[in-house]
Symmetry: none
Subunit: 252 residues, 2 copies
């Protein structure tokens, strides 16, 4: 583990948990408490945390926000994306949704993987351009600005003409009762259309999505093969999902 990486990790912990206990972190990362203390001292000197006896506390909310944006958000998505990317078999065909998590999946795919990717997201398509062996099929249609994906009748129709082994969908909410939800009706319909064209559908849900719900239902649990998340498997919501028969792929 890189020293700078360790520092980011500490800032991440600070943002997520609101405190750091030097002893615990040392045990977790398998390093000496001295190193943790030294890091905390440095961070405090830069004003990024407040040193207290036994560990550290966040400095000011503004600083924490900055640190959280910079390191925490990508981290969970990257873990989820790594697990999702491992589901893609060489030579296989993948339907990939839009959104930042899907984009992270592209970055997590091996550079020289030979596979076919079908997407309705121009952003995802552009990211795939430097995967020379990946075949790319773009689904056209009216592009919705807020989510940057092709939706609507034309896009759904285009989706009818493709088939795939695997579909990876992002959602904005994962809730035991509300199910898988998203904020826009057109997007929800498009996700349904995509899912229907693949043998297996997996949901990408970084931990902040777990337990939340949005306005429009995407799919019932029966239609999905599993949920990929970095949330703790012992999380109450996750345990309820497991009890409902949802397969959980932990991205710890």
């Amino acid at each position: 583990m890189l020293a700078a990486e360790r520092r980011d990790h500490l800032l991440g912990l600070l943002a997520r948990q609101g405190k750091i206990v030097a002893k615990d972190v040392a045990a977790e990362l398998g390093i000496s408490e001295d190193s943790v203390r030294r890091d905390l001292r440095d961070l405090a000197a830069e004003g990024l945390c407040q040193r207290v006896y036994g560990g550290a506390l966040p400095a000011s909310p503004a600083v924490v926000d900055y640190a959280a944006r910079k390191s925490v958000a990508p981290d969970g998505k990257r873990k989820v994306a790594a697990v999702a990317a491992a589901l893609v078999r060489p030579g296989g065909t993948l339907i990939l949704d839009g959104g930042t998590t899907a984009l992270a999946v592209v970055h997590a795919l091996p550079q020289d993987l030979a596979c076919t990717v079908i997407t309705h997201s121009p952003t995802v398509a552009v990211a795939l351009l430097d995967h020379p062996r990946a075949e790319l099929f773009l689904l056209g249609g009216r592009v919705f600005k807020h989510s940057a994906v092709a939706c609507g009748a034309a896009a759904v129709e285009a989706a009818q003409n493709v088939s795939a082994d695997l579909c990876l969908l992002g959602v904005t909410g994962v809730h035991p009762e509300a199910g898988l939800t998203t904020a826009d009706a057109e997007e929800a319909a498009m996700k349904r259309a995509l899912s229907a064209r693949a043998a297996d559908t997996y949901i990408l849900a970084s931990s902040e999505k777990i337990g939340t719900a949005s306005r429009f239902r995407v799919l019932p649990w029966e239609k999905v093969s599993g949920l990929i998340t970095d949330a703790d498997p012992r999380d109450a919501v996750v345990e309820r999902l497991t009890a409902c028969g949802v397969e959980i792929l932990a991205a710890g």
Copy 2:
């Protein structure tokens, strides 16, 4: 292994794993750590990564975007793009080709222009995302990696369902005898399909294209309304085109 290849590999690792450990990469690629360190130093100098003790971490996305963008903006293309963008009327519908010149057109469009843009290029689509009042319609199909546009039967078919006032096409060669040419047959066919759906077609040709020819004919001169170029109007080739009845829009 080529130096540039190695550089790309490093950037890929950075994107996929979020970090680089110099020692590991050196072992993996069978080169000395010194070379890796030198590469990382160079990348950091370009703002593409952040150098840390033991390896490197990703630079902030904003910086990377900026560094990537500033490398592509030749003066000639910008001038051509500015003239082309002025042809787009508020409320009008534009079919926009792929390629770097077309991308320059997007950047030349007023940020708040209300119009409809139809494109088969995911790159152009992504660039248009921060034009909030521009309606965007994406033509899907198999994406050809070298030119990064959707081509083939599906894309041509999708193009049949749209109409526009104006079509802006990029080409790789503009020659008095050979006409308008490009390097790929599929691309040529797609450009024809796009042109056929618009009332007017203008060709984007920065000066280095003038007088050159590629393998495949795109359109005869009769089908185009004009040529937009930054080449000197008294250039021999340009004068011959004028004599042939081609309208020249000078982008001096």
